[in-house]
């Protein structure tokens, strides 16, 4: 029900945004690296990604207040028309392209496919494009980023945390429309980004991590860069070569309807991570 309302609300936005986009993004039009949004420095709340534990028991991941020093990010998700040019140049894998309108987000892409596109467009434009980190995506997604902290549960009983997660996932429902919609269909957020948390989830560069919190020490106990953080209507973690997310088996609720991406133009380091580093000031390597 909630989802249906959201789509309905988004549909109202279509009338305004589509005519503009239709002229901007005709099929086969050149990539528009200029169509980016520059976000001013700001502080924002960020629910840390990954699995956190204390004393070996899973806990709620911390809600951090972090400061980003500014970010330049694509207004739209990369479209099929744009991705097709990378395929034509032989720099991206020959993925299936939609029949008909090309001004729809390119979906069915893995993290590797998205990264190939970033490499290609960086070379093409001379600017440094890459996938956003999860912190950067959350910053740009603003009010559309979902903070899905799980309720605190009895850590001695693994079933309680598990049931709670199941309830949360089951409550998500599935998107009413599964097929990728023309760019702009899901409206623009407060930062000027289109289609954030619509029916296309976006790859980030952030690796899956496990962290343990003991006292004020936060220790990364493992990092798995074969699994990346994927963002959209909910946050999830995906193996990097997945193009078509599936649920089923022991998983419940809807997996991401589609996997796509948008890129940031940025220095090689995450602006947000830098900000954390600047604020925290006490990062250490080793031990």
């Amino acid at each position: 029900m909630l989802i249906a309302l959201k789509i309905k609300a988004a549909a109202l936005g279509v009338a305004v945004s589509v005519p503009l986009l239709a002229t901007a993004l005709t099929p086969g039009s050149p990539p528009r690296p200029d169509e980016t949004v520059a976000l001013a420095a700001a502080s924002f709340g960020y629910r840390a990604a990954g699995d956190f534990s204390r004393g070996g028991q899973p806990i709620v991941s911390p809600l951090l207040v972090v400061r980003a020093s500014g970010l330049v990010i694509m207004k739209n998700q990369v479209t099929a028309g744009e991705y097709a040019q990378c395929i034509r140049d032989g720099a991206c894998p020959k993925l299936a392209l939609p029949v008909g309108r090309q001004d729809v987000p390119m979906v069915g892409v893995s993290w590797h496919d998205a990264t190939a596109y970033a490499t290609w467009i960086s070379r093409k434009t001379g600017r440094s494009y890459r996938l956003p980190t999860d912190e950067e995506w959350t910053f740009a997604a603003a009010e559309r980023a979902h903070d899905e902290a799980l309720p605190l549960v009895d850590p001695a009983d693994p079933a309680r945390a598990w049931l709670a997660r199941y309830e949360t996932e089951a409550a998500r429902g599935s998107a009413v429309i599964a097929a990728p919609q023309p760019t702009g269909t899901f409206g623009v957020n407060s930062k000027g980004l289109a289609d954030v948390a619509g029916n296309v989830w976006e790859w980030t560069n952030s690796c899956f991590q496990r962290l343990s919190l003991d006292g004020s020490e936060e220790r990364i106990t493992s990092v798995n860069c074969g699994v990346r953080v994927v963002e959209g209507a909910h946050r999830t973690y995906m193996t990097d070569f997945i193009r078509d997310p599936r649920s089923g088996g022991c998983a419940v609720g809807a997996p991401p309807s589609n996997l796509g991406f948008r890129l940031v133009i940025a220095p090689s380091n995450s602006v947000v991570t830098d900000a954390i580093r600047a604020v925290a000031g006490r990062w250490r390597h080793g031990a």
């Binding site: 028991q57 919190l213 074969g226 022991c250």
Partner: protein, 375 residues
């Protein structure tokens, strides 16, 4: 390893952390035994019946992702394995024992793995509690409450079938404490165990119909999924490879020896048959609280289960142990051979007249169209 001191001064932690006392890892006061696992078709040493009380039996499974050759033509597949073998090793315990399993996912792997043990109760068979990323390990303890042979397999969310048909399955045998029995309560014994794990493989082909190979396991994923979704395997094999149990790899036994053949298939139905033999006692569904069926010719192993068949060899020679869908046995690979030594028993079988020319017709008889007509 990166240590980050979460500076509470600057980075506010708004969430309230739960704090629980660390529970003691081992509150069970039972004797422990560590067992080194053995690659199939063989099984680690074990007692068939035991007078000892319950124990905690420790096993260790290490996941290996590796490229393997699965047929004589050199077809390559990216396998995911427990301890490097397909199937994974069989773990044998007795009813009431605790299995304490260490699951290791080495840093050299690329994917998360876990384990769902059909012998275990709760927690998705352990799948919910054993998700390990490369570079991690986990220890799961569960109580073996039901006697029987049970499969285990990898079950990562969203990728279960792919991991299973890439080789991640094995078996647990939970023996009754007083051993196996026939339907009348008479004890049954075996001299050896063969553990046969059947795999169905789905190898993609290129536009010329040749099997494709891939530089990494990730690259093989989407093409393999396309073949899997058509449900027609390209290979159906025992022990991970066409010919893994034939020729110089054939199994051996002697006349008079009793063999327990455990057969598992984690994904697809199969129907073992011993060509020239039988199942003397067969637990077709694999669970020892049910009386075994007797004298079977072929038994049905439901996909996602294991069966156990006890057979005493009575004649020497070569026995073929097949999946009696003969297309799968002969064309796709599901054949094993058992070489049996011993003395031939004429009472059971005797060649009265060896194959030779058809003898001439009797005097006065006329043959017509292959039929002999007496005049």
């Amino acid at each position: 390893m990166l240590t980050r001191r979460t500076a509470l001064k600057g980075v506010a932690i708004a969430a309230v952390m739960s704090w629980a006392p660390i529970t003691l890892a081992d509150e069970l006061k039972l004797p422990r035994e560590h067992v080194d696992l053995v690659a199939p078709p063989f099984v680690h040493r074990h007692e068939q019946a035991t007078k000892a009380g319950p124990k905690i039996i420790e096993f260790r499974l290490t996941v290996h992702e590796k490229q393997v050759v699965i047929d004589d033509a050199g077809t390559k597949m990216w396998a995911m394995t427990y301890n490097g073998s397909m199937p994974g090793p069989m773990m044998v315990v007795h009813e009431g024992d605790y299995i304490e399993l260490t699951l290791v996912n080495p840093e050299t792997n690329t994917m998360p793995h876990n384990i769902d043990l059909h012998a275990a109760t709760g927690g998705l068979g352990g799948g919910a509690l054993t998700h390990v990323n490369p570079g991690e390990q986990t220890v799961l303890r569960f109580k073996a409450t039901r006697p029987g042979v049970f499969i285990y397999h990898c079950a990562p969310e969203g990728m279960i079938p792919w991991h299973v048909v890439s080789g991640m399955h094995g078996a647990v045998m939970v023996l009754p404490r007083d051993g196996l029995k026939d339907g009348d309560g008479k004890p049954l014994h075996y001299d050896k165990v063969f553990y046969i794990g059947e795999n169905d493989f789905y190898i993609p082909k290129d536009e010329n119909g040749k099997y494709k190979s891939y530089d990494s396991i990730g690259e093989s994923y989407s093409d393999t999924m396309d073949v899997m979704r058509k449900l027609i395997p390209t290979h159906v094999v025992f022990e991970g490879k066409v010919g893994a149990l034939t020729g110089k790899n054939a199994l051996t036994a002697n006349v008079g020896e009793t063999v327990l053949i455990v057969h598992s298939e984690a994904n697809r139905d199969t129907r073992p048959h011993i060509i020239g033999g039988h199942g003397d006692y067969v637990w077709e569904t694999g669970k020892f609280n049910n009386p075994p069926e007797r004298d079977l010719e072929t038994w049905f192993v439901r996909g996602g289960s294991a069966a156990a068949a006890l057979y005493t060899f009575r004649e020497p020679g070569i026995y073929a142990y097949v999946n009696h869908n003969l297309i799968e046995a002969v064309e796709l690979g599901a054949t094993a051979h058992i070489k049996v030594d011993g003395k031939w028993n004429d009472d059971l079988m005797k060649s009265i007249s060896p194959p030779g020319p058809i003898p001439p017709a009797k005097l006065g008889a006329v043959t017509s169209g292959g039929a002999t007509i007496a005049r």
